[in-house]
């Protein structure tokens, strides 16, 4: 389900060793952290300060959907607010489109928020006394765009999210899913490069949520936007994200693609999380195949050229289908015209079960 990564590797948002410490004695705590490298626990004990985000580093590239997954209290909402400086970082450097946002003055910051960084909220935050159209045009309105022009842009944005017929209604007349679409349209109307999504679909029922997840991903990709998407739901992160960062207690525990996180969890915390995730569409042939040489030495009698062929990017679901079609219990993986490995039935089972460790040599 992953589309190919955008070729452009331009980093739009760059977060380097960012800390956020809350509390009355935060400045002293920050000093202690930067000078002595105190841990979260020590900061709480010595300074009575809560560490919201601890030494977080991440890069969001152009055209990428970057998910930040964590449970409540993990600091993900704080982290996303650091990216548009709704919260000031205590320590560290955040660069958006090459400009360090901590150094912007109030007017420059407003301009950056208005033009470059859109935001969608969990609570939707629609203005109840404005129509859907007026809500969608709000960002342009505060930027001083003339009424006709902003209404035209807002109407186009509402069309993109499928609400063209609802422009004259009030938010209270819309369902939760539709309200969140208005929130998305409002962010899109300003045509920002980066959209910050703060758990936008968490309050919706599962079916609508799924539908919006797919629509969001499709829309973001077709418009070439980058997004930072906060969620507490790993399945949502996997459905939507090109890359996923897992947060725990203010620390980014692991960053990687869905497949990397599922197949190579960084620690017990992450592996607990991924335990319940279906691997069928996540794990690809290249991580379950045996290299050709190894396979040949284990099964010298097998004629590799007679096997059905597939690409290294084929997921387990496709591999199972291929295996079922073939009269052999192995599939050859071909890259650039040459066989690079073989996926055996045993390998498939391991892939599904989540134990991708090496197979015994004698099959």
């Amino acid at each position: 389900m992953k589309t190919a990564m955008n070729d452009s590797n331009e980093v739009l948002v760059d977060c380097q060793n960012v800390w956020k410490i809350f509390g009355a004695r935060a400045p002293a705590a920050v000093k202690a952290v930067s000078e002595r490298g105190l841990s979260k626990k020590q900061v709480l004990k010595d300074f009575d300060c809560v560490v919201g985000v601890s030494d977080a580093s991440l890069q969001v590239r152009r055209g990428e959907i970057f998910c930040i997954m964590g449970l409540s209290g993990s600091g993900k909402s704080t982290l996303i607010r650091l990216l548009n400086r709704l919260i000031e970082p205590s320590l560290g450097k955040i660069t958006v489109k090459g400009r360090e946002i901590a150094k912007l003055n109030a007017a420059e910051l407003r301009d950056m928020r208005a033009r470059n960084i859109g935001m969608v909220f969990q609570s939707v935050a629609l203005l109840p006394y404005r129509t859907v159209l007026e809500n969608a045009a709000f960002g342009l309105e505060v930027r001083g765009v003339a009424r006709d022009e902003r209404n035209k842009t807002a109407r186009a944005a509402l069309e993109k999210v499928g609400l063209a017929d609802w422009t004259a209604r009030y938010p209270s007349e819309l369902s939760g899913g539709m309200q969140q679409r208005v929130g998305l349209a409002r962010a899109l109307a300003a045509d920002p490069e980066i959209i910050l999504m703060d758990e936008p679909f968490s309050a919706l029922d599962p079916l609508i949520r799924r539908q919006l997840q797919d629509e969001f991903r499709q829309l973001t990709k077709s418009l070439g936007k980058s997004a930072v998407f906060i969620t507490h739901d790993l399945e949502e992160a996997i459905r939507i994200g090109d890359r996923i960062a897992i947060m725990k207690d203010g620390v980014i525990v692991q960053v990687g693609t869905a497949e990397e996180i599922v197949t190579k969890p960084a620690d017990d915390y992450v592996s607990d999380f991924v335990a319940g995730i279906s691997r069928i569409h996540l794990v690809k042939a290249h991580s379950v195949m045996r290299p050709l040489a190894e396979f040949k030495s284990a099964q010298p009698h097998c004629d590799v050229d007679a096997l059905l062929r597939t690409s290294p990017e084929a997921d387990i679901g496709e591999l199972i289908d291929l295996t079922m079609q073939s009269d052999r219990d192995a599939v050859a993986v071909v890259e650039n015209g040459a066989v690079v490995g073989v996926v055996t039935t045993r390998g498939l089972l391991r892939g599904v079960a989540g134990t991708t460790a090496g197979e015994p040599v004698a099959a």
């Binding site: 909220f121 203005l127 505060v142 930027r143 007349e173």
Partner: protein
């Protein structure tokens, strides 16, 4: 020790202060008196220029066009009542007095209320002052007001303002504190200026509570008109006072009901005017 000697009498300190103010700032107070009298006189003569039915028709049409037909009907009935009970002139005087007093109260209370919502220390400092303003019987601060501005409508307006400011101020602060945090965050995240956040998010979101504050301000100001009658401000208050001193049940009742009519009129008109343009439909 003699208990008499430790009695505290703030008046002994305040009275000389009032005297001093009177002696040194008399021209200023006179200017204030003249200005307020002029504004009041202008409103009064505007209301009394046309015959009563002319005013009633104009008020009805204006309310129908600017607010809605329901408010227009209520306006018409309230004004017609004042006319029919024979207290037209007194009612118009009271209307002018209350309009001026409420306008000044709001001009003081609204910005202060916003500031109090922004700065906690200011709110903490204002609160006890408001408590005193509301609980000290108005007769008490009428004394220095009369001493400074002499009898008439100006001390009545001052007393009315002192009474009308606290509810408006408190409810303005409450209204602004109640603006949902996520809407404020939305304003910031979309790059809105503080001014745009104030006018496009905060004030519209606060309007329902602000309307309640204005309503309280109007009702408390009207309650003060009786007192205004006592210091020679005329209007319905004077009629009530006359009814009381002459033990004329009829006059007192007519004047009292006219006050109610004026209250309903002002409340519905202000509410309607403020809620116009925010045509939120019920969910």
């Amino acid at each position: 020790m003699n208990p008499e000697s430790i009695q505290v009498s703030p008046g002994t300190y305040l009275a000389p202060a009032v005297d001093w103010l009177n002696a040194n700032f008399h021209p200023l107070f006179e200017a204030v008196t003249k200005f307020v009298e002029a504004v009041l006189g202008a409103i009064e003569s505007a209301l009394l220029f046309l015959p009563p039915y002319g005013v009633i028709v104009i008020a009805f049409v204006l309310a129908a066009v600017l607010v809605n037909i329901r408010v227009a009907v209520i306006t018409g009935i309230a004004l017609a009542f004042c006319f029919l009970v024979g207290l037209w002139m007194a009612s118009m005087q009271t209307l002018a007095l209350v309009t001026v007093a409420v306008t000044i109260s709001v001009l003081i209370a609204f910005p202060l209320g916003i500031l109090a919502a922004r700065y906690r220390q200011l709110e903490a400092a204002i609160r006890p002052v408001l408590d005193i303003m509301q609980t000290v019987p108005p007769w008490v601060y009428l004394i220095p007001a009369v001493m400074i501005f002499s009898l008439g409508r100006v001390p009545a307006i001052i007393a009315t303002i002192v009474y009308g400011v606290p509810p408006m101020l408190r409810l303005t602060t409450l209204a602004f504190n109640q603006v949902p945090k996520d809407l404020l965050e939305l304003g910031q995240a979309t790059g809105a200026s503080p001014r745009a956040i104030l006018f496009k998010i905060e004030i519209p979101s606060a309007t329902p509570t602000l309307v309640v504050g204005l309503n309280q301000c109007i009702l408390l100001s009207l309650a003060m008109v009786v007192l205004a009658g006592l210091v020679g401000a005329g209007g319905l208050g004077a009629e009530v006072t006359r009814g009381l001193t002459r033990m004329e049940m009829g006059l007192g009742l007519r004047a009292g009901l006219s006050i109610v009519a004026v209250a309903i009129l002002l409340d519905r008109l202000s509410r309607g005017a403020l809620q116009r343009g925010r045509n939120t439909r019920p969910a």
